[in-house]
């Protein structure tokens, strides 16, 4: 069957899914790209900037979307979810459901790439930080929306005078959260704080950290530039309490490098909530018979990097939280494995 065009299903139109769909399409195979939301782009659509270069994430995204348009063999279904999946020996028989119209479409695919992204830990489990109770406490992805508005010049008069970022909210917590490090929070927190100080140089900005993890090309330099050039204050300690304080918020912590309890008054507290697998991913993993780890992240099998089952592959945050660049690399890797599989069929 060598040389015969075959069809792959890609679930999720974020950075990982887009890259996988593009590469499989460019290799001459048909692709069905399914996206739950109205637009392709996933998390990249929500971000105010990229890192380690301060760029608009939409620039790269639009490049990808343009390339995708040139591939007539890639069919894009937005507002669509997988309503059923039956393995049929040489692939999967699927039903796609449009969430707006309720319309169902039956399709066949010889391989699937799951690229459904990740979700955020429910920060309300940390009663001591008051998320859901104090209006000034939010999670990072909510703060990202404020950054995007400020960047456009909107609502700047409402900008806070001081912001505290708290990392490891749900990550590296064996009791209330997860033992793993969510990996992306150190970098996006540095980016958010840097962006905030770029927009409002007069404001104060504190990042409470246990460690800052900046292992990547230009990552360390990026974080150092946020400290040195944007003058974001890094405080080593995990805050114990956020409490209302005369219309503002008070963060209590220990400065563990000095060994003293400290307090800081801020207007806004941004929680870097742990990245967790989506519930939908767990259901999909079951119906595609894809391997997952104890937390529910997709897991590679048989020495592959992106293969989670017989004809099912994965990329991006559904395997483990990753930044846009990582998602793109994994998308390309998943595509390579799908193409290799098709070539062997």
């Amino acid at each position: 069957m060598k040389g015969k065009a075959r069809k792959a299903l890609v679930v999720g139109g974020g950075m990982a899914g887009l890259e996988a769909a593009l590469k499989i399409g460019q290799a001459g195979h048909e692709v069905i790209l399914v996206e739950k939301e109205a637009n392709l782009g996933g998390t990249a659509l929500l971000l105010s900037s990229t890192f380690p270069k301060w760029q608009d994430p939409l620039e790269k995204l639009n490049l990808k979307l343009e390339q995708l348009k040139k591939l007539p063999a890639v069919e894009v279904y937005t507002n669509t979810e997988i309503s059923s999946c039956t393995p049929n020996g040489s692939g999967y028989s699927l039903t796609l459901r449009n969430n707006l119209t309720g319309e169902e479409t039956g399709v066949e695919a010889q391989a699937a790439v799951l690229a459904t992204g990740f979700d955020y830990f429910d920060a309300r489990k940390y009663g001591e930080y008051g998320y859901g109770t104090y209006p000034g406490v939010m999670i990072s992805i909510e703060f990202e929306e404020m950054l995007r508005e400020w960047k456009k010049g909107l609502k700047r008069e409402k900008a806070p005078g001081a912001v505290a970022f708290i990392k490891c909210v749900g990550s590296r917590d064996r009791i209330k959260g997860y033992p793993y490090c969510s990996k992306i929070c150190c970098m996006y927190t540095a980016r958010q704080a840097g962006m905030f100080k770029e927009l409002f140089p007069q404001a104060s900005c504190y990042i409470f950290y246990m460690d800052y993890r900046a292992a990547g090309k230009d990552y360390e330099e990026f974080v150092r530039s946020v400290m040195e050039e944007k003058e974001v204050r890094y405080v080593r300690g995990r805050p114990a309490k956020v409490l209302p304080y005369g219309g503002k918020l008070m963060v209590r912590s220990e400065d563990t490098l000095m060994g003293v309890p400290i307090e800081v008054e801020v207007d806004l507290v941004v929680l870097a909530a742990a990245a967790v697998p989506k519930k939908e991913t767990l259901e999909l993993a079951k119906s595609f018979a894809a391997a997952t780890n104890q937390h529910g992240f997709l897991e590679p099998v048989d020495g592959f990097t992106a293969k989670a089952g017989t004809r099912v592959f994965f990329a991006g945050g559904c395997g483990f939280p990753t930044d846009s660049a990582g998602a793109q690399q994994q998308g390309a890797a998943a595509a390579a494995e799908v193409i290799a599989l098709f070539n062997q069929d």
Partner: protein, 186 residues
């Protein structure tokens, strides 16, 4: 001389971990215990530092510092600790161990005296009479006129009483002491 990390004695730590059912390797040194601690500002070593002192086997410092005696076992640290380390249990253990020391220095000795007097009160009446306790403590520490003005005010407002009553079933309270006769001393 620099601290010799290679020659750390684990005996004290191992015994403590066993007795308190804790694993100190799980500590991230994040300081969440200390940030939330209600009395950390009065401690000479914060709860996080106590864990580190145990890890480096600094038994002498642990036995003479005021931290275990300042800790009020409110358990906020346990609620916050991402590693679930039972710090109040450790403080309890340190208190027990450090009682063998005769002279902790004035700050700590006074606290220990207060603990003793309080437990004596409980043994005697089944409850604590603040007036008697404050008087005894101030007398024994030579602070004869401390709280005199405040005491009068409280007395006038009926907040404290010169008479102290006993609980109905004193033996029931005393039975707690009988279970652990060692503590009778404390």
């Amino acid at each position: 001389m620099s601290f010799q990390v290679g020659s750390i004695d684990r005996t004290f730590r191992d015994e403590l971990e066993m007795a308190c059912n804790v694993d100190l390797d799980q500590c991230w040194e994040c300081g969440k215990c200390t940030g939330g601690c209600t009395t950390a500002h009065n401690m000479d070593y914060t709860p996080r530092k106590i864990i580190q002192l145990i890890r480096i086997g600094a038994v002498k410092t642990l036995m003479s510092c005021n931290t275990p005696w300042v800790c009020v076992s409110c358990r906020l640290c346990v609620d916050r600790c991402p590693a679930g380390i039972d710090i109040p249990r450790i403080m309890d253990y340190l208190r027990e161990k450090s009682l063998a020391i005769k002279d902790h220095g004035p700050g700590v000795d006074d606290i220990i005296l207060f603990h003793k007097l309080l437990l004596e009160e409980v043994y005697k009446r089944g409850r604590v009479s603040e007036t008697a306790l404050a008087l005894k403590f101030n007398m024994q520490t030579g602070q004869y006129f401390k709280d005199a003005g405040l005491g009068q005010k409280l007395l006038r407002k009926g907040k404290i009483s010169p008479f102290s009553s006993k609980v109905r079933d004193l033996n029931k309270v005393r039975s707690f002491f009988k279970q652990e006769p060692d503590r009778r001393e404390v």
